[in-house]
């Protein structure tokens, strides 16, 4: 059943380290794939990266087995696809969170600064102390982009607000260290932060837990994490990796390649509102945020993208 090429043209999903049930980035992609499966009755393959040094082997194996298109998650796989994709010109790859300039790669990037701006506004509106926290995963420009958008949103509501931003580490281990995430959150809370935004993959679980333990608000990321600690998770910055995956699976091997940007305008990012946080978001808060959202989509309100020039007007790192 597993000889190469036996299963033709089923899509494939390469999940990054952290696993498909990380309640966050990877799980979002898996949700998109599952939705496609439910709706079309098709089948797909997924594999989970196990090891830094084996990335190429895993993507390659997926291509060898004939999966097409193949969605690959995480900017860490930019280098992987740069090497592997040219070897399989007949296969279409979709990379989420990174840009690879090859004819058979669709590079999907998100306007995380826009979504983070909105949750930043909510954070400032909910904060009583005027101090909010940000816990990033690995200290890379992508996560600074989250932090910077968030800070701009906070300052838009409360120009005097204090933003404490920390990163969990400088290696991929930083995505999966809830103990450290919890410690950082506790430290921020002790410094007065009463809303903490976690953009840290699996590490975020520790952050959300610490906030719930301390009785302050937290903000989830990527997937809708509102249900994890109802009453404590203020909202989640949705990054619709599920939609991106779903679209690629739907389009099949012929999916358009090149760079695709997913922002507020095309539903790529958003903030989450559901029964778990309905009580936390007042009508005024919602109105303020929705107004800002409309302005951003209309282009009348600009949110600075850290990655465009590696600077941030609202936050120094």
């Amino acid at each position: 059943a597993l000889s190469a090429g036996a299963a033709l043209a089923n899509p494939g999903l390469v999940i990054d380290m952290g696993g498909k049930f990380d309640k966050s980035f990877n799980e979002a992609a898996w949700n998109g794939a599952e939705r496609w499966k439910r709706e079309t009755g098709g089948s797909y393959r997924d594999i989970e990266m196990q090891d830094e040094a084996q990335r190429e082997q895993f993507v390659r194996r997926m291509a060898e087995a004939g999966s097409n298109p193949i969605v690959v998650l995480g900017f860490q796989n930019m280098a992987t696809l740069e090497v592997v994709a040219p070897d399989y010109p007949e296969t279409t790859f979709a990379l989420i969170d990174g840009v690879v300039d090859l004819p058979n790669v669709r590079s999907i990037i998100f306007a995380e600064h826009e979504g983070s701006y909105l949750v930043g506004m909510l954070a400032a509106l909910a904060s009583k102390t005027g101090t909010v926290g940000f816990v990033g995963g690995m200290d890379v420009p992508l996560i600074r982009k989250f932090a910077c958008g968030y800070a701009q949103g906070v300052k838009a509501v409360n120009p005097d607000a204090r933003i404490i931003a920390n990163f969990t580490g400088s290696t991929p281990a930083a995505w999966n260290d809830p103990v450290r995430g919890g410690e950082i959150a506790k430290s921020q809370i002790s410094q007065g932060a009463d809303v903490v935004y976690a953009a840290a993959g699996g590490t975020g679980i520790g952050v959300l837990q610490a906030a719930a333990d301390a009785g302050v608000y937290s903000i989830g990321v990527d997937s809708n994490q509102n249900h994890l600690h109802p009453g404590s998770v203020l909202t989640s910055m949705l990054k619709r990796v599920d939609n991106a995956t779903y679209e690629v699976f739907m389009a099949g091997p012929a999916v358009e390649t090149g760079i695709v940007v997913m922002g507020l305008a095309n539903g790529g990012v958003d903030y989450a509102l559901d029964e778990h946080n309905a009580a936390l978001i007042s009508a005024e808060m919602q109105a303020a945020v929705d107004a800002a959202k409309a302005e951003i989509i209309a282009g009348t309100r600009m949110v600075h993208d850290y990655m465009s020039d590696d600077t941030c007007p609202a936050l120094t790192f």
């Binding site: 580490g169 260290d177 103990v179």
Partner: protein, 322 residues
Amino acid sequence: MDVAAILSILEGTIRLSTPLLLACLAGLFSERAGVFDIGLEGKMLIAAFFSAAVAALAGSAWVGLAAGVAAALVLAVIHGLASITFRGNQLIAGVAINFLAAGLTVLVAENWFRLGGRTPSLSGEARFQGLTLPLTETLAGVPLLGPFWGTVISGHALLAYLAFLAVPATWWILYRTRFGLRLRAVGENPAAVDTAGISVVALRYAAVMICGLLCGLAGVYLATALSAGFVKDMSGGRGFIALAALIFAKWRPWSAMGATLLFGFLQSVATRFPRLDLGIVVVPAQFIDALPYLLTVVILAGFVGKAIPPRAGGTAYVKEHG
């Protein structure tokens, strides 16, 4: 740096020292009896997993505690079999135990929960919550002491207090009881113990099981108190830091507490200041991460007081060669 930050660092120090301290005392019992144990990490890890997993299923932290300790004890028995009964290489046995735990935890976690090697998050009764010590209210108004008591001393999980109480207990057992005398003797010269009519095997097994118990508690604390559930490799080298602390402390209980508090403090600082700006130089986080290991190497080099391990440590007791 303001007072709140200092208090927060100290509070974190206690929290992060606790698993180190428990594991360090675990190693102390085993190594004082002449059984070297580089498998502290593995025993801690397996206890972390089984405590979190069973706590999640049973909804009770106490049931989780029992399961975690039991799992660590099973590995301790393996270590005992290899290094006492079958007179194998204690160090190699420790290495094997570490890998066994690293592999089994993920394998079973994936099989039970399908969460990518994680357990579900624990909440409520499934987790050891912080305790508020008496006097917290009373002292709240007192400057310095109030916040210090309230933040740093009070508010930790039961296991943390247990860990720090284990220090005087260990000291007392080691130096004030018959068992302690025999335990220290068997680590120095098992033949003396044997000819005194005491079973070397039984003593060493006792020590190895105490080691398993304490490692188990360290793992349980890690998964059900310090964090809320198990993630792959969550011990993250703490077993080795505990080993480093043990050498640093020269196999003595009070010094073990000092060493683990120091290392916990370093972790607490590193967590809060990934890039420690000291004005003249910026200390990178990686340096602080590596500091316990660097300090241990310096100690081992013997430039700052020599660390002499128990003399019979690392070797099986063999009466007859064949």
